[in-house]
Amino acid sequence: MFESLSERLDSAFKSLKGEGRITELNIAATVKEIRRALIDADVNYKIAKEFTDKVKDAVLGEKVITAISPGQLMTKIVKDELTELMGGNEVELNAKGNPAIILIAGLQGSGKTTFSGKLANYLKGKKGFSPMLVAADIYRPAAIDQLKVLGGQIGVDVYSEPENKDAVSIAQNAVKEAKTRNKNVLIIDTAGRLAVDEVMMTEVANVKNAVNPQEILFVVDSMTGQDAVNTAKAFNDRLNFSGVVLTKLDGDTRGGAALSIKYTVDKPIKFISSGEKMDTLDVFYPERMAQRILGMGDITTLVEKA
């Protein structure tokens, strides 16, 4: 994949041969190729444009180094910019409190319940944490059962009230229960909802206001396309979430949604989820994600070799 992008960039750079410096004119085709690569990776159309314009401004006037191919040079610059953009303000998960409350929210089927289980499992393995899962999805058929099965697999308690049709009071009761059960981290799994669903967005905002979570994690499917921007913005407007979780990265998606979201709401990506099993949770590496979006192998070694 890296080869193909850098080859494309090299051929776009052909016109540059013999010219000493990068100018607006001689870089146009290259910028277009990069933009295209980003859009193919599902980076939002407008963001791809803004991003490549920025990269272009950064390289204007630079000397064309002949030692390595201009395509590779350009790819490296893009990758570095992208890495920087995806990283920055790296913040640890805040699980301090008694109990600390972590609210999980996102679209339908994005992987919230599975992630809730994984996070509970992750925290359980850390010293000083005693997590409890809270089943606050009162809509999806068998949502409680699903969370209970996961809780059973990892040996973590699941708090649920099958007869209660009010997510807010379930969450509030769970907080009280945590104290009696001596649990110091609550992970609240909520129902999937669309950003345009006013009633459902109000519900999750009400849960937030009622229990005051330390962390609100927005869970997003890494295969999401152009709409990632709208959704992230809408959820952030309502919840002011503290972090993002990217799921299903065990697939072969390039995952440009990650860039779109970071660019739009500027919240840290705190975890990546890459599998259906409870131990497939990872912290986020900006550089790997940048490479993935650009569809490259390990570009650094390639460039260093050149």
Partner: protein, 300 residues
């Protein structure tokens, strides 16, 4: 509506009297189509078609351009072969008619099955569900609730049992009960996992021991908010199971599902159903015209 007209009139102004489409038009069309997840390749293809038409037809006004756009895009959305087309209340091409539902994780397979069951049942058909997702936590419980909602029977085994065996049982049971429609739920799986794709081929083969030409329909469910990766999904699921139709879910949100344009065009698979909510009633039979219209519906 406002935005749509602006967009179209911009294009019209830019193309009027010219035989080629200029940069501005390209940008506008690109923005609308790419922003709807249509993808660059397909977008370029659409633009080229428009260019050809414009050069030939010398159209004049917005309405005509609108029509050309609609026509060209609709032409990319193939129809089901007659052997494979049906309505809920019409006689099905075979009895029982076996529909196997496949797709990546969390796209809406189980929910779509619940909705299909409801629709077939309402149209007077005998429906049977097969819970061949024995893997995902509480998958069988979830499908059981849908079977109760729709009021149709279900064949199931314990979690962790062989999904092919469940599918086999279901088809056999459907034959002896005289079911009209059999809906087989399968576990979500990412298309790049070869062993899981093989499992799907196996489920398919095992059903053929009971009914040689089953499944009659392999419905690939795509999440409407998925981007270009849906093309890979279509490619690999088709390779493993000969997908015959697509369902696009979650179109009640702001996502447009434009990637199905590329899929339909490239793999010649028709879109049959659209999911527009989480309730039993929230399933629509796909309508090309309305779908294309919604691609250009930029407000919200």
């Amino acid at each position: 509506q406002q935005t749509k007209e602006n967009f179209l009139s911009k294009i019209t102004k830019a193309i009027a009297g010219k035989s080629t489409v200029d940069e501005e038009v390209l940008d506008n069309l690109e923005e609308a189509l790419v922003g709807a997840d249509v993808g660059i390749d397909t977008t370029v293809q659409i633009i080229e078609r428009i260019e050809t038409r414009v050069a030939k037809d010398k159209y004049l006004n917005t309405t005509e351009l609108n029509n050309i756009l609609q026509q060209e895009i609709e032409a990319m959305l193939v129809d089901a072969p007659s052997a494979n087309s049906y309505a809920f209340d019409s006689e099905l091409p075979s009895k029982p008619y076996v529909i196997m539902v496949v797709g990546v994780n969390g796209v809406g397979k189980t929910t779509t099955i619940g909705k299909l069951a409801h629709n077939f049942k309402k149209a007077g058909k005998n429906v049977l569900l097969g819970a061949a997702d024995t893997f995902r936590a509480a998958a069988v419980d979830q499908l059981t609730i849908w079977s109760e909602r729709a009021g149709v029977p279900i064949v199931k085994q314990d979690m962790g049992s062989d999904p092919a065996a469940v599918a086999f049982d279901t088809v056999q049971s459907g034959v002896s009960r005289g079911s009209d429609v059999i809906l087989i739920d399968t576990a979500g799986r990412l298309h790049n996992k070869a062993h899981l794709m093989d499992e799907l081929s196996k489920i398919r083969r095992v059903m053929q021991k009971v009914i040689p030409d089953a499944p009659h329909e392999v419905l690939l469910v795509l999440d409407g908010s998925t981007g270009q990766n849906a093309l890979e999904q279509a490619k690999h699921f088709t390779a493993a199971t000969d997908v015959t139709a697509l369902a696009i879910t979650k179109l009640d949100g702001t996502a447009k599902g434009g990637v199905v344009l590329a899929i339909a065009n490239q793999f010649k698979i028709p879109v049959k159903f659209i999911g527009v909510g989480e309730k039993m009633e929230d399933l629509l039979v796909f309508n090309k015209h309305e779908f294309v219209d919604s691609l250009f519906n930029l407000e919200k």
